[in-house]
């Protein structure tokens, strides 16, 4: 960790030292207000980045890991637990301040803003810790809230938690859109009087005061920032003390109190009863496991990250290409993500799959059903939505749907093939469910396949007025281009299925 931090600090510092040295005085003068705003914004960015990372990776952990039960029998006090947990989380994300320090050191030195740098670094580190402590408060509250709600109504609680998680991740994503962030930070910097009453921006207010050489305000807001950190630490400790011994809960799915087996029926689409049962298990995992629920939010987040700039600056997005590129991105990333994690997320329970009489073909279909459904719905939604905002036209939209469907199948096969070959069964802190090697291979294979399948249709879109209304260039017609895409798609479906099946066979026979 320390080595990575040193590299992240030193590399940009050395590089920028040379780059800044080569800049003309006029460019340097233009950079001063930008760097000043960046320095002032650093603390609030650190807190926000910490909270976002906490929401994504800390709050999503299973209760076996995040619960205080793991340590509450040891001679450890809740205060020590909170301090250790917050410091551990902060140190995990210490790359943020290390990188910021490396980038800003040569810039502030050259632009005559170096007097800000040491104070900004101290306050940024403090803000990172503040973010980690806020995550501790949320962790304690969420554990308590979920046990209370579960006791009242299990099904309702599970549905509510899922919706709440998706909303939370989506809101966080919107909050971190560059457009939105720029607007908020602009308000903070220009409206210091308003910002003074928001505790989270006190470190930034201290830096603004320092830039104005107002030492009284610097001392006041720096002190207030430290006091805020202590106050949040105290709150987190008190909450953790209150919920130090979680009450065991039993979540009942059905109140009938007797075993009524589900009918072993197929749900159609060539899925056997076993395939349907496996698919249901996968859906239940996605809907009920805290660590997996966040993955459902990702397609929503991806769509939002594309749509916010379009809503914010519609003039930049005229023509048919934006919808097409978004429609290509969803079938690339969403099925890949869901299918890659599907084996590793089994954890030790993978023994169930290995010891039951399950054929590879049943496992493939059962495992991929959620990926197909979610990716299909996300793609359909995006294409339909884009038809309103940046229309492609019906024929292009239909062609894009066909090619998207093929890409979803290809990338889900690639993802499962990769997940079966390089699973990471660690179901614990910040689990990825696939090894880094598998992730990289899957990303490259899927990216290449998506490019190959979408390229002919993309050529048609781009060369027939698809980018900002340009005139046709070569007149590559839709039908031959679509036929080429379909042909390439069929070839890749066959190849990716072979890749997937061999991986699953190897998994099930442990060869």
């Amino acid at each position: 960790m320390l080595f990575i931090d040193i590299v992240l600090f030193a590399a940009p510092a050395i590089l920028l030292q040379y780059v800044v040295g080569a800049l003309s005085p006029s460019i340097i003068a233009a950079l001063v207000p930008l760097v000043l705003q960046a320095m002032i914004s650093l603390p609030v960015l650190m807190t926000s980045a910490m909270i976002v990372s906490g929401l994504m990776f800390e709050l999503g952990q299973g209760s076996a890991i995040s619960s205080s039960e793991a340590v509450n029998w040891l001679p450890v006090s809740p205060r020590e637990y909170v301090a250790a947990s917050a410091l551990s989380t902060s140190s995990l994300y210490s790359a943020f301040p290390a990188l910021a320090a490396g980038i800003t050191l040569p810039l502030t030195a050259k632009l005559g803003l170096f007097y800000l740098w040491p104070v900004a670094m101290v306050l940024s580190t403090l803000s990172l810790l503040l973010g980690a402590l806020i995550v501790e408060v949320l962790k304690a509250i969420m554990n308590r809230v979920s046990s209370t709600v579960y006791k009242r109504s299990s099904r309702f609680a599970m549905a509510t938690r899922l919706v709440a998680l998706i909303l939370l991740f989506s809101l966080v994503q919107i909050a971190f859109q560059p457009y939105f962030l720029y607007w908020v930070l602009g308000i903070i910097v220009s409206g210091i009087e308003v910002a003074q009453i928001i505790p989270l921006v006190w470190p930034s207010v201290a830096l603004i005061s320092l830039s104005r050489y107002d030492l009284f305000q610097v001392t006041l807001y720096s002190t207030l920032s430290f006091l805020l950190v202590f106050a949040v630490y105290e709150t987190a400790s008190q909450l953790r003390r209150r919920y130090w011994s979680p009450v065991p809960i039993s979540i009942s799915i059905d109140d009938s109190g007797e075993y009524i087996p589900q009918a072993s029926t197929s749900i159609g689409f060539g899925l056997s009863p076993l395939t349907s049962a496996l698919a249901m298990k996968e859906f239940r995992a996605l809907l009920r496991r805290k660590d997996l629920s966040r993955f459902i939010a990702i397609p929503v987040v991806v769509v939002i990250s594309f749509l916010v700039p379009m809503v914010a600056a519609p003039g930049d997005m005229s023509g048919r290409a934006p919808g097409f590129f978004l429609a290509a991105f969803i079938p690339f990333i969403v099925p890949l993500m869901f299918s890659t994690i599907t084996i590793g997320q089994e954890g030790n329970s993978v023994m169930n799959l290995l010891s039951l009489p399950i054929k590879p073909s049943d496992l493939i279909k059962g495992k991929l059903a959620p990926a197909w459904l979610i990716s299909g719905l996300a793609t359909l939604g995006v294409i339909a939505g884009m038809e309103i905002m940046a229309p492609m036209g019906l024929s292009d939209a239909l062609a894009t749907m066909v090619v998207s469907a093929m890409t979803i199948i290809i990338n889900s096969f690639i993802g499962l093939g990769v997940g079966a070959r390089w699973p990471d069964y660690t179901v614990g802190s910040r689990s990825r469910y696939v090894t880094m090697k598998g992730f990289i291979i899957g990303f490259i294979l899927s990216g290449f396949s998506t490019l190959v399948v979408f390229a002919p249709l993309g050529l048609h879109i781009v060369t027939s007025g698809g980018v900002r209304g340009q005139a046709p260039v070569t007149g590559l017609d839709l039908l031959p281009m679509l036929a080429t895409s379909i042909f390439l798609g069929v070839v890749l479906i066959i190849l990716s299925y072979i890749f997937c099946k061999r991986g699953v066979e190897r998994l099930l026979s442990n060869t």
């Binding site: 799915i253 059905d254 109190g257 007797e258 087996p261």
Partner: protein, 209 residues
């Protein structure tokens, strides 16, 4: 045990389960086997009923068969009141019972049980032992692994003692005791003698507790 299940490949040789070669047809062989691992890693986010449904469907049981067979076992092991609860809240004993029910519900011809009585209450342990006796009487082959030698002595018709990967004794309880020259001793004493680990008293004294 995992080689019999077809989960691990043997270095050499082959295994047949009910006439099915495990190496070439592992899925087919698993249809005849019921397996309880040492630690039952169940799907904790499923209810017991949902898990039993999944296992039952995997073994090709009809809805009626699942209701009858699993229903009987759930009542016998006093799990019928918890069947619709999500298993994350289950104790070790409750998980063990669900693992046992899932291994028995399809009436396997071969049972592979790794420490199956772990965490069970005395009543359930007695019931499981009775079930195993009856299944053995009906011709079911039961491979039972345990470190509790009193259990092995009480319920196994043939015992194999493995030390550091090698078989050091095999036969009925009486045959093994006779082989060790300890006819009236417990199987534990025999085990300690055969494995050369009789220094337990000295070990405890050395701890100076």
């Amino acid at each position: 045990m995992k080689i019999i299940l077809g989960v691990l490949k043997p270095d050499s040789g082959s295994i047949n389960v009910c006439g099915v070669d495990v190496g070439s047809k592992p899925v087919e062989a698993r249809r005849h086997i019921g397996y309880v691992p040492e630690t039952p890693f169940l799907y904790e986010y499923l209810s017991a009923a949902e898990y039993l449904d999944l296992v039952g469907v995997a073994y090709g049981l009809s809805r009626e068969d699942r209701k009858k067979r699993a229903g009987e076992l759930l009542i016998a092991l006093q799990m019928d009141n918890h069947v619709n609860e999500v298993m994350s809240g289950f104790s070790q004993g409750m998980r063990q019972k669900i693992a046992l029910i899932s291994a028995l519900m399809h009436r396997p011809k071969v049972l592979i049980l790794d420490e199956p009585l772990n965490g069970l209450d005395p009543r359930s342990a007695r019931i499981v032992k009775e079930i195993l006796h009856r299944l053995a009487g009906d011709g079911v082959s039961i491979l039972f692994s345990t470190h509790v030698l009193e259990i092995a002595d009480a319920i196994c018709s043939k015992i194999t003692i493995i030390n550091e990967g090698s078989i050091i004794a095999e036969g009925t309880s009486q045959e093994i005791k006779a082989m060790a020259g300890l006819k009236s001793s417990s199987l534990e004493d025999v085990f300690l003698k055969l494995t050369g680990s009789e220094d337990t008293v000295q070990v405890v004294e050395a701890l100076r507790l």
